[in-house]
Amino acid sequence: MAQQTIRQAINQAFHQEMERDSTVILMGEDIIGGTGSPGEEEAWGGAMGIYKGLYRVYGDRLLDTPLSEAAFVGAAIGAATCGMRPVAELMFIDFLGVCFDQIFNQAAKFRYMFGGKAQTPVVIRTMYGAGLSAAAQHSQTLTSMFTHVPGIKVVCPSNPYDAKGLMIEAIRDNDPVIYCEHKKIYDTTGDVPEEMYSIPFGEADIRRDGDDVTIATYGMMVHRALEAADQLAADGIECEVVDLRTLSPLDTDTILESVENTGHLVVVDEAPPRCSVAADVAAQVARDGFRDLKAPVGMVTAPHTPVPFSPELEKHFVPSADKIAACVRDTLDD
C-alpha cells in the first residue's frame, strides 16, 4: 500500500470524488492561485497546497473567491441546498466569526426547519491549531464551537488513512460537515489505499491498546498522546489511546468501554479547558461511567488564554507528551 501524507491523502480524496461526482466543487481564497504562486498552471493549490493539481483537471469547478468568508461560505451553503456538493475552505478556523451565522443558524437548521425536505451537503474545510507562531488570531482550536451546535457534523482526522476516508464520507454526507485539519500534521505519513473508501462518522479508533489508563483525544493531540504512551510503557504503564476521529457525532461507547476496562481516563485537548471537547468527554464519562472510574478524570488542555505568538510561550501553551504523561501518573496515583 502506498505511503502518503495527510496533504496527499486529502488531495487524492478530491481527485477521486470530483471524478466520480460532477456536483463536487471547491471554493475558497487562493485555492487556484495563492500568494507567491507563479501562475495558474503551477498554482499553489491553497494556503497549504491541498488542492495542487486539481485546477488543471477540473478547471472552473474550482472557484477562487474574494476575501469574504461571509459571502463564499454562504454561497457554498446555498449551492448545497440546490443540488451541488460544495467544499468551501475557511482558511483558518479563527475566521469562523465572520461566517458563523451562515453555518450555525442557516446550514445547521435547514434539514430540521424544512421537516427533512431540505438537505445541505456542504463541507467546510478549515485549519486549526497552534505551533507555527501564527499568533492569537490564526492558531486557535475552536472545534468545540461547532461541536456545540446540533445539525453540524465535526470531523478531525489525525492520520492520512482517516483523512482520506473521512473526507470522502464528508463529501458524500447529506449534512453540513466541518472538516478540521491541524496545520502541524499535514506531512504525517501513513498507508493509504489507492481505492476509494469511506469511514463512517461516529466511530472512534483505538490507536494503542492498554489496560491501565484510557487517553481520549483527537487531531494532532493523538500524536502527543501516543508519544506519552511510549514514555509510560517504559515504566510498565499501558495506555489505551482513543482517537475520537469525529467530535460530532461522538463515539462515547468506545470511550466508556475502554474506561470500563482501565478504570482511569485522561482527556487531552489543544483547546482551552472551558466548554471544550475535553470537558464534554470528561462530563459524559463522569455521568455514564462513574462506577467504572477508580480516580477523577485527568484533563490536559491549553491554558485559558489566547495563543501566544512567542515560540517559547507557544511551546508551553500546547499540551506536550510530558504533560500528558505526568497527568496519567497523577491519575494512577490518585
Binding site: Y161, G165, P193, E195, M196, Y197, S198, I199, P200, E203, D205, I206, D209, D253, T254
Partner: protein
C-alpha cells in the same frame, strides 16, 4: 544436522515479531512440524514449527523479545552434537545475521496484478515447483488467509494465492455473486498465467468455487483440497454471512469474526481493524451482500457441486475444524468416502490458520501421494 529456528514472515507486511512462550524445553526432542515457540505480530499470533525432527539445543530468543524476521529463535540439532559446535553455530549465525531490508520495495515476495477481462486480479506467487497449486480464500477473506501456509506449501509446488473478485486488492465486482462468475474469472486467469492444471486448495467459499471449477473445467483440476468447504451440505451460518456483510463498525463486526475461530482470543483488534479497512472500500458492501445471498442457499449449492466429491473422479482431501461454527463438521463426516477426511479437534472455521502445521502436513502428504 544443526538447524536454526528463525523468526517467520507471516504475511508481506510482517517485519518483526514478539517472542512468546517456549512450548518446548531446551534439551527436548521434537518431531518435524512440532510447534516450539509462540510468536505474536500486530496482526496475528501463532506457533513456530520445527522444520525437521531433532533436539531443541538452544532457546536463544527470550520471551518478550521483539526480533526482526529471520532472527535466530533457537537451534535444533542432534542430541549428540557437541555443545561447542552448537555454540559456534549460534555465534556464527548472530555474527552474519542482517535483518531484511525494511523497505518492502527491496526484494522479498511481492504481490502482482494481472488484468483478466474487466478484473485486475491481485496474487502472490511463491515457490518454483513444476506443478502449480492455487489457494482460494473464503467469503470476506483475502490471500493473507494463507500466511501460515503458503511458504510451507511452496516447498512442493509453485503456489499462487489470489484475491478473489470482490476481495483484497482485486476489482470489487462479483456480478450476481454466484460460483460460475468466480469460475469464469479463474479459468481466464489460468489461461493468462499459462497454467494447464493445478492442485486447488479452497477454504469455505473458495472450496465451493474449486468444486464448481472441477465441474466446469475438469481439465484444470488435478486435485482438490477442501477446507471447511461450502458446497458439501445444506447448512451454513446465514447469521454470520449477513452479519459480516452488514457490520459497519468494530463493535458490530467483532462478534461475527470471533465465530470464525475456536479460540476467539486469536481475533486481535488489528485483525478486526484490517477487515474494516477492506469492508469500507467502495463496492465491497455490494459484493459481500451478493455473495452472502448466494452462499445462503447452501442446499442449492451443494446439489450443484457436491457430485464432484461423491463421484470420486478427482482426488480430494477434506479438512475441517470440529468446532466450526460457520459450516458444521458434520458435513465432512457425512461424505461417502472417509479415507481422506480429517476433522481436527479444538479448531474452528479458520482451520488453515488455527492448525497451520497440521493442515500443511496433511496437504503435503496428500500431494505427495498423487502420481
Amino acid at each position: 544436522m544443526t538447524k536454526a529456528i528463525t523468526m517467520p514472515k507471516w504475511g508481506l507486511s510482517m517485519k518483526e515479531g514478539l517472542v512468546g512462550d517456549w512450548l518446548v524445553a531446551e534439551g527436548a526432542e521434537v518431531g518435524a512440524g512440532t510447534e516450539v515457540v509462540l510468536v505474536e505480530t500486530e496482526k496475528i499470533a501463532g506457533g513456530v514449527e520445527a522444520a525437521e525432527a531433532g533436539t531443541l539445543r538452544r532457546a536463544v530468543a527470550a520471551t518478550g523479545d521483539t526480533l526482526p524476521v529471520g532472527a535466530l529463535l533457537g537451534v535444533l540439532a542432534g542430541a549428540d552434537t557437541p555443545d561447542a559446535e552448537v555454540d559456534a553455530f549460534v555465534s556464527e549465525f548472530q555474527a552474519n545475521f542482517v535483518p531484511e531490508e525494511t523497505d518492502a520495495e527491496e526484494g522479498g515476495d511481492q504481490t502482482e496484478t494481472i488484468q483478466v477481462g474487466e478484473f485486475s486480479v491481485n496474487y502472490l506467487r511463491q515457490g518454483s515447483g513444476a506443478k502449480t497449486a492455487v489457494l482460494l480464500h473464503g467469503f470476506g477473506g483475502d490471500l493473507n488467509n494463507w500466511l501460515f501456509n503458503q511458504a510451507a506449501l511452496a516447498e512442493h509446488r509453485t503456489v499462487i494465492a489470489l484475491d478473489l473478485p470482490g476481495h483484497g486488492l482485486t476489482t470489487k465486482k462479483v456480478a450476481n455473486g454466484n460460483l460460475l462468475c468466480m469460475v469464469h474469472v479463474l479459468q481466464n486467469l489460468m489461461d493468462r498465467l499459462g497454467v494447464a492444471g493445478a492442485d486447488w486448495v479452497g477454504h469455505s467459499m473458495g472450496g465451493a468455487i474449486a468444486l464448481q471449477l472441477a465441474l466446469t473445467r475438469p481439465d484444470l483440476v488435478r486435485s482438490l483440497t477442501l477446507l471447511a468447504s461450502a458446497g458439501l451440505g445444506p447448512e451454513i451460518n446465514t447469521d454470520y454471512l449477513q452479519g459480516f456483510a452488514a457490520s459497519r463498525n468494530r463493535r458490530e463486526l467483532r462478534p461475527h469474526v470471533r465465530q470464525l475461530f475456536a479460540d476467539p482470543s486469536l481475533v486481535t483488534r488489528q485483525l478486526v481493524a484490517d477487515l474494516l479497512k477492506y469492508k469500507r472500500l467502495d463496492g465491497v458492501q455490494e459484493c459481500l451482500e451478493a455473495l452472502a445471498y448466494q452462499l445462503s442457499d447452501a442446499a442449492g449449492q451443494a446439489d450443484a457441486v457436491r457430485p464432484v466429491v461423491d463421484s470420486g473422479a478427482i482426488p480430494t482431501l477434506v479438512i475441517w475444524g470440529a468446532d466450526d461454527r460457520i459450516i458444521p463438521a458434520a458435513q465432512a463426516r457425512a461424505l461417502p468416502k472417509q479415507d481422506n477426511v480429517h476433522i481436527l479437534d479444538n479448531t474452528g472455521h479458520m482451520v488453515q490458520m488455527e492448525r497451520a502445521p497440521d493442515v500443511n502436513r496433511l496437504i503435503t502428504t496428500f500431494w505427495n501421494s498423487q502420481p
